[in-house]
Amino acid sequence: MNIWESFKIALSSIWNHKVRSILTMLGIIIGVAAVIIIVAIGQGTRTKMTNEFFGTDKNAINIFYEYIPPEGEEPTFWMEPELTNEDVQTLAEVPGVKAVIATNQGFGMMVRNDVQGDMQITGVGAEYFSARKIRVQEGRAFYAADNDGLNRVVMIDTVARKKFFKESENPIGEIIDLNGNPYKVVGVYESPIPEQFRNKDNGEMMMPRAVISMMFGNREIEQLSVIASDPEKVSVTGRLAAETLTEKKGLEDGKYTTNSFEDYEKELNKMISLLTLLIGSIAGISLLVGGIGVMNIMLVSVTERTREIGLRKAIGATRRKILLQFLIEAITLTSLGGLIGMGLAAIGTIIVSKLSPITATMSPLIVLIGISFSAFIGIIFGILPANKASKLSPIDALRYE
């Protein structure tokens, strides 16, 4: 007798007791479905949060100024120190720093022919393009000379190009009007912001940051971040860069510091893991209870089928074959429960994805783990009843009333 024969006997036995089998499987079904839905939601949440908070730039870290009032004094009006190109150069030389991103922001009304729109303007330096991996679609990126020479040039993103220029037009070299002043378009770029967060109406543009400072009266560097060459050392590199800057500026009533996304991400992961663990253990308990239910029913089944076991032994079944038959029956029962649970979980994840902004994803790995785990429960809780069945003496079993 091979495994396949045992499996067929097991299936017909489960089929012959349909209601009982389904009730027995219920614990496993609920347990497996719960585990998989929870894990799927957890993964979906993690992916969503990570994308929202970190975008595409996971190894960049912000450096910002923190005011420290002198001891015993109330905080008073304070000014952030002015940052210069020289400071950017200093940061670029800090070990572990791959690139420095120094930007400021402007906001203005862009007009060309009859089209107009409010534009978000990012003031950048020449290093920005390689640091953020900006793809220039047409024309050129800014040169260092654009910043130093206060050239009134702009770059527009693909959305703005679509809005302000016809497909057939060449925007490069065209003059546009921004808050009443003329600027020359030198390039078209693809925005580094993930598509779903872009300004879909007007798009955005870039200008040399010195020009923004001059035309809008902003400080030349408002946001500062460094990109670490080793993604694992973002926090360390960021802290070192902040300390270097504080030292260079000779600050007494303030310092530069970092707000590590990595720390935040760790917290987030910890929270999700904790939640997953918590609900996972509840589901685990449900699986355990389900397993005990399977064991209970299998024990009842062994008692009920004492005569069948005796007869099988009389016609030549060995202890091993009886053990195998009942073990396979238990495994089939729990695996079937696992499969049904998996089906419910698949439906559950679809519903969750439809009703909430989270895209719950069922990975093939978790499906595999789910099925093997339910089969494993079958082995664990089937061993005792199967062993009991195999040890029945054929004489006693046949005499059993």
């Binding site: 007798m1 024969e5 017909s12 012959n16 005569r307 069948e308 005796g310 007869l311 099988r312 032994k313 009389a314 016609i315 030549g316 079944a317 060995t318 202890r319 091993r320 074959k321 003496s393 054929p394 004489i395 046949l398």
Partner: protein
């Protein structure tokens, strides 16, 4: 088949119950034997030992000149499967399998292919006169028909010995006679048939009657076939 000084003791220590006290018995191929005796005489225990359902406490056991010394469960199971065909008083069928499947069931444990199993089961059901009941469930068969299915099942492995424990105990006298005629026919075809019974008229079909009392053979006589 040869049994030498077979004893069987149930229980242990002060609860020891000796059931068989040194049975010596030689059974030749092709014999038709009835084992008789009142209940509690040890005839069922002897049958269990002959059928490898149980093993003796002491004594030796020879089958076809080979001494069976091991009481290992898997070896006994193999011996049962290859050499013994059982027929029980209560028939003992797999209630959800039809007659054909019931007859074929011992062959599963002998590792025989499904096609051959079905083929042999069909032949034997035809032999016991149930060719038109092959697809019937045990619940759809009469007692006599069930016992015929059981006999077909006992024969399917082509065993050395057919061992029947009170095979007519649950049947009326007319059906009993038919079943006993079937056993007689099998014996005439060369099978060794051993029947355990307490009924004189059933024992009368056999060619040799062994009487057991208090765990010992008290009488062993050959009879001329009636």
């Amino acid at each position: 088949m040869k049994l030498n000084k077979i004893t069987k003791v149930y229980g242990k220590g002060s609860l020891e119950v000796p059931v068989l006290h040194g049975i010596d018995l030689t059974i030749e191929d092709g014999e038709f034997i009835a084992i008789m005796g009142p209940s509690g005489s040890g005839k069922s225990t002897l049958m269990n030992i002959i059928g490898f359902l149980d093993y003796p406490t002491s004594g030796t056991y020879e089958l076809n000149g080979e001494v069976i010394s091991s009481a290992k469960e898997s070896i006994l199971a193999k011996l049962r499967n290859e050499h013994i065909g059982f027929v029980f008083q209560q028939f003992f069928m797999f209630p959800r399998d039809n007659a054909l499947k019931n007859v074929a069931s011992p062959l599963i444990y002998a590792g025989i292919s499904k096609r051959e199993r079905t083929e042999r089961a069909k032949q034997l059901l035809t032999k016991v006169g149930l060719e038109d009941r092959m697809k019937h469930l045990p619940s759809e068969l009469s007692g006599g028909q069930k016992q015929r299915v059981a006999i077909a099942r006992a024969l399917v492995n082509n065993p050395t010995i057919i061992l029947a424990d009170e095979p007519t105990g649950a049947l009326d006298s007319k059906t009993s006679a038919q079943i006993m005629k079937l056993f007689t026919q099998l014996n005439e075809e060369g099978k060794t048939v051993i029947i355990v019974t307490h009924e004189e008229e059933i024992a009368a079909y056999a060619k040799r009657i062994i009487t057991i009392k208090d765990g010992m053979i008290t009488d062993d006589r050959s009879v001329v076939a009636s």
